[in-house]
Amino acid sequence: MRKVVGIMATVAMLVCFAAGCSSSGGSGSGAAGSGAAASGTAAASGKMKPIAKDKIKVGVIHITDPAEGAGYTYTHDVGIQAMQKEIGLEDSQIIRKNNVPDTDPAKIETAMRDCIDEGCNVIFATSFGFMDVCEKLAKEFPEVYFSHGTGYKCNGVNFNNYFGRIYQARYLSGLAAGLQTKTNKLGYVAAMDNTNAEVTGGIDAFAMGVAKVNPDAKIYVKVTGSWFDPEGESQAAQALIDSGCDVIAQHCDTTGPQTAAEKAGKWGVGYNSDMSKDAPKAVICSVMWNWGAYYTAAVKSIIDGTWDGTNYYGGMKEGLVTLSDLSSFADPKAKELIEAAKKDMLDGKFNVFDGVIETNDGKKIGEEGKTLSDEEITGKINWYYKNVEVK
């Protein structure tokens, strides 16, 4: 945005030059500079000091603006608000830095330093691209808690990562979607290809849910190559619909695929927030994050001194991952099946990636009687389940 303004101002100036006038003009678009050489002292090993509730000040770094009202950043901010209510923090104890570009380390660092300068002692960075700056600043500010979402790094002291078993909810949504389809073709708009284990594992979990209730159905995947691409996501969904898919699931940030499904009179499975708000006639159910479960637990642990700086990987059990209520037009059998599977997950009887799993290129993954480790789930799933086809 700012860059566009800068370019426009420059063009305006060029017009001015053409008229032989040496005036000046424009708009602010200065990139933020910042320090790099992490010369700060390394964080002292051992436990962090707890912070009293009224001394806590939280800085939140968002990649876009929660005012969008749906999708990724909104969902994180709803979690922050839930934490604020649950713990009982004042409004002045939370600072938000919105629209921080994840591709500009200098701007990320400026935003975080701003928060620290304003007295923040807890930083929640909600987007993947903020990870390395968190790691760096955690060294320089050993007394500040850094918690970074959806990545993988931590330092075991004042910098950790939080993420979750969203594949559990995806499996459940697969049950509903598998029952819903009439054409036995389901579409899936994916942000990344099989180099990303989170996306690929999510597709596999969804496909396994579908296969459980509908062995004849196939899942067609289209990759957009971007986490946030309003136009590309809608187009990918439309292409899938055109090729005969009648349920559109998604792993990307906008509501585009769901609204495209609604427009075409098809169904869909939303993601991040409850997308039945955005496409009430299409969304069967939504796979949702309840980040409030983590934010509340994290701030609590900081207050009572139990924070341990290790990575958090929560799921259905912790309430971090949920499935929205089924819509009225969902298949009547779905509810019971989902409840049963959910119960098995909570009891630990069923973990989605159990036993031997067949891939779509004829390989076999896993062992009978065992389940995939978290390490494999978070970093090594680069295969698709047998009923998946990538377009």
């Binding site: 945005m1 700012r2 860059k3 303004v5 800068g6 370019i7 101002a9 420059t10 100036m13 060029l14 030059f17 006038c21 040496s22 005036s23 000046s24 003009g25 424009g26 708009s27 602010g28 678009s29 200065g30 990139a31 933020a32 500079g33 910042s34 320090g35 790099a36 050489a37 992490a38 010369s39 603006d65 005012a67 600072i95 938000r96 830095k97 919105n98 629209n99 591709t103 500009d104 380390p105 200098a106 701007k107 660092e109 400026t110 330093r113 701003d114 928060c115 620290i116 300068d117 304003e118 691209g129 390395d132 760096k136 942000a191 180099t195 990303n196 284990a197 989170e198 996306v199 970093g379």
Partner: protein, 362 residues
């Protein structure tokens, strides 16, 4: 009827004589106050107290060492890039390509930061510095060569090269320089500590380089033969030719320096501020620098002041956003309003509106 009457417009713009420096200063102050008032009205309209907003901007920049350091960090690339383009503009060479020259400086320096981080620190820093200057200079040489050889339009040429430079980073990020440890999120790896600039007084040492460059450019422009030559070419290349100057040579030499300085800015941003090469390495600085250079009338001393004002506005706006809960778009509008007035007053230095001439005159 054979004769057609041409109606003159009610108002038309005419060039005015040079106005005295004192009057210009008064005009500037008036424009600044008007800007604050207009910005204040906008703030009122969205329900903010304007005095509180302006106060927050200033306080947000100077309330602590960390805030001052952050403001200085924003200033560094602005100063360097503005110095770079001002050399070209003095010669009336429209270098709109600072953005691309910054990027290429960053790219060249990053090669050594990524693949030779085991070199001794000072050797590496000096090599990266020279590489950055070389990268920017090459990116400035291409359009200049075409200008002196084929008389191409340098404004368009340098502008377009910005986009090519931008996509070169995208290519490197997604392809050959992609960090293998970052699945699903293409980025270039963070540089080794050995390959980043040292901090002096809490800010990466780019600020020292900026000050040295500022002094050097000031001396070069005002007290050297080459500086005189480029000013003559800027005044009139015909005069320069008549005086026996090699205009083509002066043009290429000046642009190599101009691009080289911008490239150094890119090197500092990548190895000092970012500790990696990102697509935001220039981040619009190359365009803002053009505005700064002209607002400063191409005087390096004033460039320092104007850059500081830009940095304060930028840093302070960010604090206003988070403290007062206004959106980034609203603070961009505020910045735009302030700059609009200040830029508008420059217009009135050179032109004035004149009413329709009375019938029969002329």
């Amino acid at each position: 009827m054979s004769s057609k009457t041409v109606r003159e417009p009610l108002l038309h713009i005419v060039k005015r004589d040079e106005i005295p420096a004192k009057k210009a200063m008064v005009l500037r102050i008036v424009a600044f106050l008007l800007a604050l008032i207009a910005g204040g009205l906008f703030m009122l309209s969205i329900g903010c107290n304007p005095i509180e907003v302006y106060q927050t901007i200033i306080v947000g920049c100077f309330r602590s060492n960390m805030a001052i350091q952050a403001t200085v960090k924003i200033m560094i690339p602005l100063v360097i890039a503005a110095l770079g383009v001002s050399l070209a503009f003095k010669m009336r060479f429209w270098n709109i390509g600072a953005e691309g020259q910054i990027i290429m400086g960053g790219v060249f320096a990053s090669y050594f930061a990524l693949f030779h981080s085991d070199w001794p620190h000072w050797v590496l820093v000096i090599v990266m510095f020279l590489a950055g200057a070389l990268g920017g200079a090459i990116w400035a040489y291409i359009p200049t060569f075409c200008k002196v050889r084929f008389n191409t339009n340098e404004t368009l040429f340098t502008l377009m090269l910005n986009y090519i430079a931008y996509y070169i980073i995208c290519f490197l990020r997604d392809g050959p320089w992609c960090d293998p440890n970052s699945p699903g999120f293409a980025k270039i790896a963070t540089f080794d500590d050995n390959a980043t600039l040292d901090k002096v007084l809490g800010v990466h040492s780019g600020w020292i380089i900026a000050i040295i460059l500022l002094v050097a450019v000031f001396i070069y422009m005002n007290y050297t033969k080459q500086g005189y030559e480029l000013a003559v070419v800027g005044g009139s290349s015909a005069t320069a030719t008549y005086a026996g100057m090699n205009v083509k040579k002066i043009m290429i030499r000046t642009m190599l320096i101009s691009g080289g300085i911008c490239g150094i800015g890119g090197m500092i941003q990548a190895t000092g501020a970012d500790a990696t090469l990102s697509v935001g390495v220039a981040g619009g600085v190359g365009f803002t620098a053009i505005i700064i250079a002209w607002m400063a009338s191409l005087d390096p001393r004033i460039i320092l002041i104007i850059s500081a004002l830009f940095a304060i506005l930028e840093k302070g706006s960010r604090v206003v956003e988070s403290n007062m809960g206004i959106s980034a778009d609203s603070s961009a509008v505020l910045q735009g309003i302030i700059l609009f007035f200040i830029m508008g007053c420059e217009f009135f230095f050179r032109y004035k509106f004149q009413g329709r001439a009375k019938k029969g005159s002329e």
